[in-house]
Amino acid sequence: MADKIKVGHVHMSGCTGCLVSLADNYGGLLTILDKYADLVYGLTLADVRHIPKMDVALVEGSVCIQDKTSVEEIKEAREKAAVVVAVGGCACYGNITRFGRGGQPNQPQHESYLPIGDLIKVDVYIPGCAPTPQLIRNVCVMAYLLLKGNKEQQALATKYLTPLMQLAERGTEACGCDLMYDIINQGLCMGCGSCAAACPVRAITHEYGKPNVNREMCIKCGACYAQCPRSFFNFDVMNEFEGIMELIDGALK
């Protein structure tokens, strides 16, 4: 199909869990590749050595600033891609790689890992460790509609992607503490429990209805804050949840 979008998977310092999440869409992934997107780059999936021009770069992992190749590659990805999506906690916030301090064979001097947003401008965030197959799927469908859809679909995709773009503007640091700083301290928490459900390491419990973060356990993935209905809640999208879910289902059939 001529009007497919060109997508690449750019692998920085990540565990490939993000890529596996993308693949965990199973049939849905095949439909995406069949109807909407050509995979033009991806170390694990496509036999291409140099980053080609593409519409969307899905970047997994943080950048080790002691690794020249990685630094060059992330800059090249920015140059070649119209839209850069940070996929997963490491690309968005550093996540577990924040705790790296070198000393591992066979490159013990590799010790500093930065979220990609500290080196290049990032357009869209998909936080989470691992990011979920369903959020990756939803963003892929919306990115397609944004680039190739009709006016109405573009408007919907813009509305949908806006908060994920705002998350990218918000910064490269995340922690369970964000629930204190930006939700509870701001008088916004209503005790729904989403944050605890979202945490991949079960660092969050609810004490009398309010989240309590075990900060020693937190790996800084950013899922809790992004999942919280009081971090962002865009009524113009949420009120249409039924139609949007149907649209995404339909697109992947």
Binding site: Q166, A226, F241
Partner: protein, 292 residues
């Protein structure tokens, strides 16, 4: 009537046909009856509900997979119950593929956000089989309820049979028949602050939402909102689970629901706006605009 009641396909006044459920239900037993029907028909594998805990009147969310467990969740406990905290666990250690969940309007918002933006909710979006919303004007921290009941109403929490907010009062019913009413003027200051920016009264994003307001005592007002909700509700009606009356024929009716919804939204919208100029050229965050 505008957008304050959300989208709906159908609105009726209803009451459970199950006398056993009604014995301890808060209102018309809609929530428990609909979950029971859905569980027995295999529409859901279980439901995240809120039941009693080891402290009196403190709710504890849990996953009910049997009718007996559902029965323990009947009645309203007016303080925080983070039901959504179980939404991923329900698909994991409980192994549910078709989840039922009940919650306040903000919890229904959390469920829909979780489906559209499942940041940390792997495999949850496609497993929400029935989301029942309950109307909500405000909620309280546990310690507020304790203070209201023990200090203001001078009753022991253990000795309370039922609490209710209605007709402009907070009602506390004792096991031995005593009834204490507190004016809402007294309860307001104990409310959870996060409720003051809440712009939904009747759970606009649920499949089916219900509350007491609008219907006579012992009956509930029910909005059927989504295709999925409509499908389940019509089957439950066909199976004889509920008595219903047209909402136009009951007092006080939809007009009161609309009035209260508008009051809540207007008041809280104002709070949201005031937050924009809370400090000196410094705003408090507005989640409806951006996560920044």
């Amino acid at each position: 009537m505008g957008t304050e009641l959300g989208k709906y396909k159908l609105c009726v006044s209803a009451r459970s046909a199950d006398k056993e459920i009604l014995k301890k239900a808060q209102d018309g037993g809609i929530v428990t009856t609909l979950f029971k029907y859905a569980l027995e028909e295999g529409i859901i594998d279980g439901a995240i509900v809120s039941g009693p805990s080891d402290e009196p009147w403190r709710p504890r969310p849990f996953v009910a997979t049997t009718v007996e467990e559902l029965m323990t969740s009947r009645g309203t406990r007016y303080n925080l119950s983070p039901n959504v905290s179980f939404i991923k666990e329900a698909t994991r250690s409980y192994g549910l593929d078709k989840i039922g969940i009940v919650g306040t309007p903000c919890q229904m918002q959390a469920v829909r956000k979780g489906q559209l933006y499942p940041v940390g909710l792997r495999d949850v979006p496609d497993k929400i089989a029935l989301a029942i919303g309950i109307f909500c004007m405000e909620n309280f921290p546990y310690q507020s309820i304790k203070q209201l009941v023990e200090d203001h109403a001078a009753m022991k929490l253990e000795a309370v049979k039922k609490m209710e907010i209605g007709k402009g009062k907070f009602w506390v019913y004792g096991e031995r028949g005593q009834v204490v009413q507190l004016p809402l003027k007294v309860t307001h200051k104990y409310e959870q602050p996060g409720c003051h920016v809440c712009l939904d009264y009747v759970a606009n994003l649920a499949d089916v939402s219900t509350g007491s307001v609008g219907s006579p005592d012992g009956w509930s007002t029910v909005f059927v909102r989504t295709k999925n909700g409509d499908d389940i509700w019509s089957k439950a009606i066909a199976a004889g689970c509920f008595e219903t009356k047209p909402i136009e024929q009951v007092k006080p009716g939809l007009e009161l629901v609309s009035k209260l919804a508008n009051e809540k939204i207007t008041k809280n919208q104002k709070t949201v706006e005031e937050r924009a100029k809370f400090g000196v050229n410094k705003a408090l965050r507005n989640p409806y605009i951006s996560p920044k």
